[in-house]
Amino acid sequence: MKHIKTLNTQTLNNTVKKGGCGECQTSCQSACKTSCTVGNQTCEHKK
């Protein structure tokens, strides 16, 4: 596929079945105290 390069192999829908365990960090505990950034958090299962 020379015209299209896909960067990721995982898709969000793949996380539906196993997701939602809640062991991950709360977003405001890291460095943001005045905004909301969740997409950059890490999944606890993939550490």
Binding site: K5, L7, L12, N13, T15, G20, T34
Partner: protein, 473 residues
């Protein structure tokens, strides 16, 4: 839903609902745009239809060779088949189910000191006082807070506690005693505390550093960047700047933690809209974990970000993103919190849709033991949820926060960034709209730009890897 944009010479196609990122050439970029314009809800079947190809040929046949149109359409069909393009948002029912699960409390922000030794002009805590009185949390109140957390954490093992303020080092002995208490209790209840300290560094010394490095999972070090920028916004109460005293201490602490598990965290305002220079200043000082966030202020505050500032802010994020790519390639990379993005191992969709957890999983505790949905709501009496003695006495407040997701916010429904910001900060929404189910629009614009930059960085670095592997061949 597909979001396309061009940044730093890259043509990027984000399939919003799957999170798939495609870096494409100009032909594919135009073809995908044309296909989406024709039908936002394409399926492999509709893409294969004669009508689709005829439409494509009509629109782009004079620009690109028919063979390329066919090749690219075939690739698009393949990706759509694989669930990486033209995917639907299937999560609305799912998030209702996730939200109905019993939530546990997993993180507390302990307001260990409602007092501060700096007088930062933009402080939402009003020099530490949070619309109230100066106060230090007692050991007894702190113990009850940790007991409350353990008792309400269900089977959740990792528990987070942020020592926050005001300035927590003004009540340092209590911080140390609470860490010791937490370490005792975690053994008894099979829990693990992850402690964070957020500090302005004024009282940081070797003893604090040694303790922090032993006990704190994360340290957030507050500094705004260049000396003149920092000292204008972060003076002592006598007006003197804080930069010279603090910077060497922070540099020493960051090195002693091997440049890991900390953030040097600043705030940019309307008075330093060239904030990429402040980020770079941090990098030049040797810091490798950097966060600089936009101030949130009233429209009447002279330093508050205005809508008219956005073009300049976007330009700054672009400059920063490009510079970070160059530095990464030169082996001098650093982390910028708002550009962090893990395309393979990021959070699950449940986490992405349910927001920051304030009011349910995350609560703030005042020095006298009152519970609020988060640190930003402290002092707003309508959000007082309970206290460490009686627990949650107003569960309806928690319910309202639990019911908040990207699907409860009209503006999020068609936003490509909704899986990255989770609907934005509820405190900011309340501040500007008096409801948590809205968004702070200026912040949304900035978040969208940051997501675009973060993805561009990934594209550029992947490009680098490809170039390197070509060179090896």
């Amino acid at each position: 839903m597909i979001h396309q944009y061009q940044n730093n010479g890259y043509n990027i196609v984000l399939d919003v609902n799957s999170g798939s990122v495609h870096v494409v050439d100009k032909e594919a970029y135009d073809i995908i745009a044309c296909l989406e314009k024709g039908n936002t809800f394409h399926t492999p079947e509709t893409l294969r239809s004669e009508e689709t190809f005829a439409n494509l040929k009509k629109k782009l046949g004079s620009t690109y060779p028919e063979e390329d149109l066919k090749d690219i359409l075939e690739a698009v069909i393949e990706l759509t088949d694989a669930g990486q393009l033209f995917t639907r948002d299937i999560y609305e029912d799912y998030i209702d189910e996730v939200k109905q699960r019993k939530t546990v409390v997993k993180a507390l922000c302990l307001h260990i000191a409602h007092d501060c030794n700096l007088a930062c002009r933009y402080c939402f805590a009003e020099e530490g006082e949070y619309h109230g009185r100066r106060a230090l949390m007692s050991y007894e109140v702190g113990k009850k807070a940790l007991d409350f957390l353990i008792a309400n954490s269900g089977s959740r093992r990792n528990l987070e506690v942020d020592f926050f303020g005001g300035e927590p080092l003004m009540n340092w002995q209590v911080v140390k005693d609470l860490v010791a208490y937490g370490r005792e209790q975690e053994k008894l209840y099979d829990k693990h505390f992850r402690f964070t300290l957020t500090t302005n560094g004024v009282l940081l010394n070797d003893e604090v550093q040694e303790f922090v490095n032993r006990e704190m999972d994360n340290v957030v070090l507050s500094l705004d960047g260049r000396k003149e920028v920092n000292d204008r916004m972060r003076p002592f109460r006598n007006g003197k700047g804080s930069y010279d005293l603090i910077v060497p201490k922070f540099q020493k602490l960051a090195e002693s933690r091997n440049q890991e598990k900390y953030y040097i965290r600043g705030t940019f305002t309307r008075e330093n809209l060239d904030f990429s220079k402040d980020v770079m200043h941090f990098a030049e000082l040797g810091f490798e974990q950097i966060s600089i966030e936009p101030v949130v202020g009233e429209e009447t505050d002279p330093y508050a970000i205005r809508e008219s500032d956005l073009p300049q802010i976007f330009e700054q994020y672009d400059i920063l993103a490009k510079t970070m790519v160059e530095r990464e390639r030169a082996g001098k990379g650093f982390t910028f919190f708002h550009f962090m993005l893990d395309l393979e191992g990021g959070p699950c969709v449940a986490k992405r849709l349910s927001g920051c957890g304030s009011g349910t999983e995350y609560l703030a505790v005042t020095p006298w033991g009152d519970l609020y949905p988060c640190h930003q709501f402290v002092g707003q009496e309508e959000f007082l949820m309970g206290n460490v003695d009686d627990g949650i006495t107003k569960p309806e407040i928690a319910d309202e926060f639990r019911g908040c997701s990207v699907y409860s916010k009209e503006k999020c429904k068609n936003c490509f960034a909704r899986f990255y910001c989770s609907g934005g900060c509820m405190a900011n929404s309340y501040k500007f709209h008096h409801t948590i189910h809205n968004t702070y629009d200026v912040s949304c614009e900035m978040e969208r730009k940051r997501v675009e930059c973060a993805i561009m960085i990934k594209a550029a670095l992947a490009d680098e890897e490809r170039n390197e592997s070509n060179e090896e061949k």
